[in-house]
């Protein structure tokens, strides 16, 4: 692979990142109480780079993305703290009208289930060109012409003939390509893909992943790939941020994570990927369930499920430990994990 060198040093002018989430907090105020779903998440993204955000359902990976997009329903959601910097400007401090300008044009997002994420009553060409017509001032004809180009770009065969088709007339994979074409209409600098392949067949998954990887490289976009599937990200991602209970528990470049996980949760995730050479043996799982965010466990949120848990884990919340080379782990025993001395 000849892709961008993985580094944690800021690129671009003024030493800032393209997108930076800083110590973000999100809570949901419901009738039953307050659920703290994001508890101090920080990550950053540079042009042409892929960051994979990994975690189980409810770990807060999608909520973080929705907070970046500004499409959280507030209320019930509330953002009591943190910053989201895009090109150095804090999105959270912007007016709604200014944020709307950023959506789709600077930061764009694609969703898990393209069938429900696309509007069922409008033709795909109409939907792809909607932003071009209403925001870029293109005529209907020019918009549709550009829509065909975008559909060609995401490799939809016979794009011109399918421009008037409706979402339900496409296969799952093609539908996701339509979704991607639509998200690229305004040439965004950041693309957030929220579980883009979860609803697809395995063979189609790989095609979509390859497409996203190619587009990111060709268009020099920053790509945030949200997934719960470690297998999916290995080839595409540069860095991985593993989330658990609204925190980033491990953050490192993809090779380091696969070689030596620095957090017991990451290790558990890696062990639970089925392998050909483990045929006949029982698949490892992480015991227990993700915590209830209304009543999170004391200390480290992962301790009830951690096979290494010690006394300190039940009382003290681990800080994010810097392990060098931009690598962090929120485990009291991160160094011991890397040494292989943790029992």
């Amino acid at each position: 692979m000849t892709d961008i060198h993985v580094s944690s040093s800021p690129t671009g002018s003024g030493g800032r990142h393209l997108l930076e989430v800083k110590d973000l907090y999100v809570e949901f105020h419901t009738r039953d109480g307050v659920a703290r779903v994001i508890n101090g998440v920080s990550y950053h993204l540079d042009p042409g780079e892929t960051l994979a955000v990994l975690g189980e359902s409810g770990s807060g990976k999608s909520v973080t993305a929705q907070a970046i997009m500004g499409i959280l329903d507030m209320p019930p959601a509330k953002i009591p703290g943190g910053q989201i910097l895009y090109k150095g400007e804090n999105l959270l401090a912007m007016s709604e009208e200014k944020r709307r300008q950023v959506r789709g044009k600077e930061i764009s997002m694609i969703f898990q289930d393209a069938l429900s994420a696309l509007n069922p009553v409008f033709p795909v060409g109409w939907q792809i060109s909607e932003s071009l017509r209403t925001r870029a001032g293109m005529s209907r004809k020019d918009g549709l012409k550009r829509a065909v180009e975008l559909m060609d770009l995401v490799k939809i065969p016979a794009a011109k003939a399918r421009i008037k088709d409706y979402p339900h007339q496409f296969s799952g994979g093609m539908r996701q390509r339509v979704m991607i074409a639509m998200s690229l209409a305004m040439d965004p600098k950041v693309l957030i893909a929220d579980e883009p392949t979860t609803a697809l067949d395995v063979t189609v998954q790989a095609q979509i992943m390859d497409l996203l990887g190619d587009l990111r490289r060709d268009l020099n976009m920053g790509l945030i790939l949200i997934t719960h599937d470690l297998g999916v990200v290995a080839d595409v991602a540069d860095r991985i941020a593993v989330m658990y209970a609204g925190r980033i528990v491990e953050h490192a470049d993809v090779r380091s994570v696969y070689k030596h996980p620095a957090h017991p949760y990451t290790e558990g995730l890696l062990d639970s990927i089925p392998r050909l050479d483990s045929k006949g043996t029982e698949l490892a799982t992480i015991k227990g369930l993700p915590p209830n965010l209304m009543r999170p466990p004391t200390g480290c949120a992962f301790h009830p499920r951690c096979k290494y848990a010690k006394a300190v884990c039940t009382t003290e919340t681990p800080r994010s430990l810097d392990l060098g080379h931009g690598r962090t782990s929120a485990c009291h025993f991160a160094k011991e994990m890397l040494d292989g001395t943790l029992r």
């Binding site: 300008q101 950023v102 969703f111 429900s116 994420a117 509007n119 069922p120 932003s131 409706y166």
Partner: protein, 308 residues
């Protein structure tokens, strides 16, 4: 699309035959003596009776009589009333009035029901939402036999805003109050339906997508949400328009509107069997056509069902 149309049309013919058959049999089974009804209070001699029986084909078997009725109907020959008036003429007089009334009623339904439903759907749980909920529940709870005379009393006699009854050839103004009364009965249903449809679509994934595309809120609601919410609403309005065209027996009787419902009520009161059958047959056709149009509109509005 073509196959769908053909299938739908064949269905319509079957429903038409079945319903007219049922109506005809019911009138046949209720018995009574049609010749005595024709003569009124006067005595009928045996000779007259025999003559009239042959003249009206009453000596024929039931199925033959049904067949004759059906072919006459298809030739738009509805026969005459017991008093000798052409039923076709009565229908031609009554129909435009009922259509006017139905139009007012459906406009009332759209303007008040659909608009309020959209607002309530967007602002679920707001004061507006709760107030309209209570109001619609009250209106749903009042039957038209109460609502029509009550509003007639209040608006025409007490406050003198409208004429009390319609004339033989009613103007739009005379039909306004009956139209509003008729429409208010479906306002409540239209509102609840619109509210549910809008609030459901507001939570849909494609709304989130439209927002992520940077579409302004008014476009998200005005185009993406409304276009989808329209599907059940149009279906409802179409069926509703069909039944409004069928005339409103109570409302038309109370306000003396010479429409189809008024004529039907009169025919029932005077036991004018040919007129009842004539009106009901046409109502069946109107209803079937309205339903066909709704089904076709449905296919236009929702591309997902177009090729089934």
């Amino acid at each position: 699309m073509f196959r769908y149309l053909v299938r739908r049309f064949l269905q319509m013919i079957m429903v038409f035959i079945a319903t007219t058959f049922i109506v005809y049999s019911l009138m046949y089974l209720t018995g009574g003596d049609p010749i005595q009804a024709l003569a009124g209070e006067k005595p009928v001699t045996d000779l007259q009776r025999a003559q009239l029986t042959v003249k009206y084909g009453l000596d024929q078997p039931f199925l033959v009589r049904y067949w004759n009725y059906l072919t006459d109907l298809l030739h738009l020959d509805f026969g005459t009333t017991l008093t000798g008036r052409s039923i076709k003429d009565i229908l031609l007089d009554a129909w435009p009035v009922t259509m006017q009334l139905a139009l007012i009623a459906i406009l009332v339904t759209i303007i008040f029901g659909v608009t309020a439903g959209v607002i309530a759907g967007i602002r679920r749980g707001s004061i507006f939402d709760n107030a309209t909920l209570v109001l619609t529940l009250i209106v749903i709870g009042i039957p038209s036999v109460v609502l029509a005379p009550l509003s007639q009393y209040l608006f025409t006699i007490q406050w003198k805003l409208f004429p009390t009854t319609a004339s033989g050839n009613p103007t739009w103004y005379e039909l306004l109050l009956p139209g509003i009364v008729l429409g208010s009965l479906s306002v409540a249903t239209a509102m609840r339906l619109t509210r549910a449809s809008v609030s459901e679509n507001l939570r849909a994934d494609f709304v989130r997508t439209a927002r992520s595309k940077g579409m302004p809120g008014r476009r998200v609601i005005g185009i993406h949400v409304l276009r989808n919410s329209l599907i059940p609403i149009v279906t409802f309005l179409g069926v509703e328009l069909g039944s409004l065209m069928a005339g409103a027996i109570v409302t038309e009787s109370v306000f003396n509107v010479p429409g189809v419902g008024f004529q039907l009520a009169r025919a029932l009161k005077t036991e004018d069997t040919p007129l009842v059958i004539g009106i009901v047959s046409v109502l069946v056709i109107v209803f079937l056509v309205a339903n066909l149009i709704v089904d076709l509109l449905y296919a236009v509005l929702d591309p997902r069902i177009r090729y089934e």
